[in-house]
Symmetry: C2
Amino acid sequence: MTKEAVQGATEEEQQAQSKKALKKQQKEAEKAAKKAEKQAKLDFAKDRYGVSAMVQSQQKLDRELVRVQDLTPEKADQLIWLRARVHTSRAKGKQCFLVLRQQQFNVQALVAVGDRASKQMVKFAANITKESIIDVEASVRKVEQKIESCSQQDVELHVERIFVISQAEPRLPLQLEDAVRPDGEGEEEGRATVNQDTKLDNRVIDLRTTTSQAIFRLQSGVCQLFRDTLTQKGFVEIQTPKIISAASEGGANVFTVSYFKTSAYLAQSPQLYKQMCICADFDKVFCVGPVFRAEDSNTHRHLTEFVGLDIEMAFNYHYHEVIDSITDTMVQIFKGLRDNFQTEIQTVNKQFPSEPFKFLEPTLRLEYTEGVAMLREAGVEMGDEDDLSTPNEKLLGRLVKEKYDTDFYVLDKYPLAVRPFYTMPDPNNAKYSNSYDMFMRGEEILSGAQRIHDAQLLTERATHHQIDLEKIKSYIDSFRFGAPPHGGGGIGLERVCMLYLGLHNVRQTSMFPRDPKRLTP
Amino acid sequence: MTKEAVQGATEEEQQAQSKKALKKQQKEAEKAAKKAEKQAKLDFAKDRYGVSAMVQSQQKLDRELVRVQDLTPEKADQLIWLRARVHTSRAKGKQCFLVLRQQQFNVQALVAVGDRASKQMVKFAANITKESIIDVEASVRKVEQKIESCSQQDVELHVERIFVISQAEPRLPLQLEDAVRPDGEGEEEGRATVNQDTKLDNRVIDLRTTTSQAIFRLQSGVCQLFRDTLTQKGFVEIQTPKIISAASEGGANVFTVSYFKTSAYLAQSPQLYKQMCICADFDKVFCVGPVFRAEDSNTHRHLTEFVGLDIEMAFNYHYHEVIDSITDTMVQIFKGLRDNFQTEIQTVNKQFPSEPFKFLEPTLRLEYTEGVAMLREAGVEMGDEDDLSTPNEKLLGRLVKEKYDTDFYVLDKYPLAVRPFYTMPDPNNAKYSNSYDMFMRGEEILSGAQRIHDAQLLTERATHHQIDLEKIKSYIDSFRFGAPPHGGGGIGLERVCMLYLGLHNVRQTSMFPRDPKRLTP
């Protein structure tokens, strides 16, 4: 009865109608209860499936959940419990085939009408939305023919109980199988691929794909290899502040923060702090942390926030001691990835094919003048002291690959004019400097140098670069009380991952990328 | 001749005077040269000392530099090169005693007039300013009586060559021996201690003290133990963005960043991103990174930027699975520090005495109501649903220590009203929640909870907390496509180090602390 109908009737009429409605409702309820009772009697499996109450830590269940990757023929004929996502489901007569997924692993499961499953239970299973999380109790069965479409090819699960733990909404913003499809594949059948913005807008789902799982497990590996190698070399991990009082590196491309009643900036690199640690006797330091660049660049390799892997160390007599430490660290990372992350590399390669990453031992080191000569020979016109443009960097990378068969090399002794004020000039040629970049597949991944450790020379160079000395006073003062010669460099984590895997956009190797146009999710 | 004198004379006079002056200058130069020659002849050791040219990587010297810590009796009678700081120097007749320092290690060195050193060389050595960095060639000699004041007690160095690599300015802003003096010690002799602001203003020098070196080497150890333990448990390291589009946790205490033509915020915790990773099937994740709080608190334990050690994990049936993982990780950290960082702990204890840190296995877990009961028994008046004040936290810590003899415990099941909107309510009592804090020496180091993984309940709770749903849309949407039950927590690195070592100010365990009044260095 609608509100409007009630308003149009007398009170008595209303009461009569209410009574009538109540009776009707009661009758209907009784009818429904009877029907349910009848159905329940018919459904012998009614306690074997359903939607569970939200897990709110109501109880401590003494139930072991098996991992999908552990479902091997050794477990045959065991009755196990498993929690996984419904990757796909397909009903077929009295059966429902499910593929159950846990990260990069998946297994086939079958719910079939029989002793343990009713028709209603199969129907229930068939209606579970993709990406829902379920608990199943199932018997593990060996299969005669390998299941090519699953990671667990030798067994399948015969489901005896099935409960939904968390229900996915029926309409997914993107399909996982579309998100991992190689560019161009399946176009003839009209199959979709997913563009990058849709992926990033729905990152929580996109990160579930085998490709994303592999990329970010490998990235986690890069960080670990970086730290383990340096720790073994006697480096100490430091934590440097990200909120700083002055835009130390010239003032361009820096984000401003409101800081109580004043303003502050976000650190464009931890470099000044790493150097202070060297002046404070930590000898060799590294840090892993966010780096911020307010650069309005919308390219495949620029982010406004990325993860810096930073190194700084005192050396004895020559900054090539620093280059050797860094290149050896990179080589240890490349070896570790090659030896321990083959599955991840191959998974990514399925969607994004690329040549295996090549490197030499010891690492190839070319001087800037040699690089310029190679470029000129290839027809590029450039001055001795010109910086390398991005296309020229890439071209040089190709030339180096052709000549030396390596995807990793160091370009040493950059022109002084194109480097920051704190770069140590070359002692033999005032046009050049003790600085270097490192490249992977022709793209820069590290920039570094011997730093000026003498307060007087540093003051001169800062003045030459028209930097406000008052703003970098505490930095320059760090060198007044005895400072060892030192050098270092900063590596971009996302670039290393992108280039090692032969990917083409740094947003693929940043979990939640930030660029001038993207701040979410 | 001054400029003024020149201006007062005729041109001829000027020329005559100039000639005269020139002659005089020439004569003086000749005289000085002769004197120098004579002195050089007299000083047979003139090539054995001096101020080196700035190390600019002029040459690759094939010279091994020995570490101070490796100067043991096994090296007796060897001639070695060493680079170190001048810690102290004391001239005494024809001898100069130096203490040479490398981080926490030091050794005595002697420059004495004799075969290898001239009177002038001893004088030169005696005049080297403290904290300068020098290279010495020296013969290692066993000593009959242990040198109690040095870390290398069994040998001293007989210096044969000495060169200054980097000269410290003569007036140090603070003396290292003052900076490590325990409070109150040496007061009678009028010896200074250094107050905290002076230390922090001159952090590069303060960090050279044995106490600072020990604190930050231990801190590096905490990070490593945290990561290694979690990696072994199958956790994946993630990198979460620090620049975010919305102040997700209610909007208070958040720093604003200018972001091109719009505004953004600094993340107050990586929590929402950790949770998205759980929804994206990473299962168990951790991250180590900066956390920003725009809180105008000038206390011993608040920083505006600190390092968060964050954990998040899916669990099966009960959030105590999460508590167990976290407490086990903490116990592994405590054990690792106890077993591998005794030297550092004892070094810090010399300046800041404290009781050894005690913990139980398994970790003590008390319910909030039990904690409140203990406090009431001790005379505290508080309501069931009141939050713990800082003094009450400390008092409860003391009561727990008395009763259970542990410096580490978990307080479980906080009142729902005092926790953030995303906290899972207790299934049995609507007043409480599935949340917990962890304490070291009576101070909170971790806050955590089971999170709500159901979009509908999350929406209800956010609405109840009057949070703008539009601003947390992408967060809530993360739970719409299947989300496992999960929980986690965030640990403050600086607090863990401070409390483990029994220190009393979090600025002691932050290399470059940030608070409402401090943004430098």
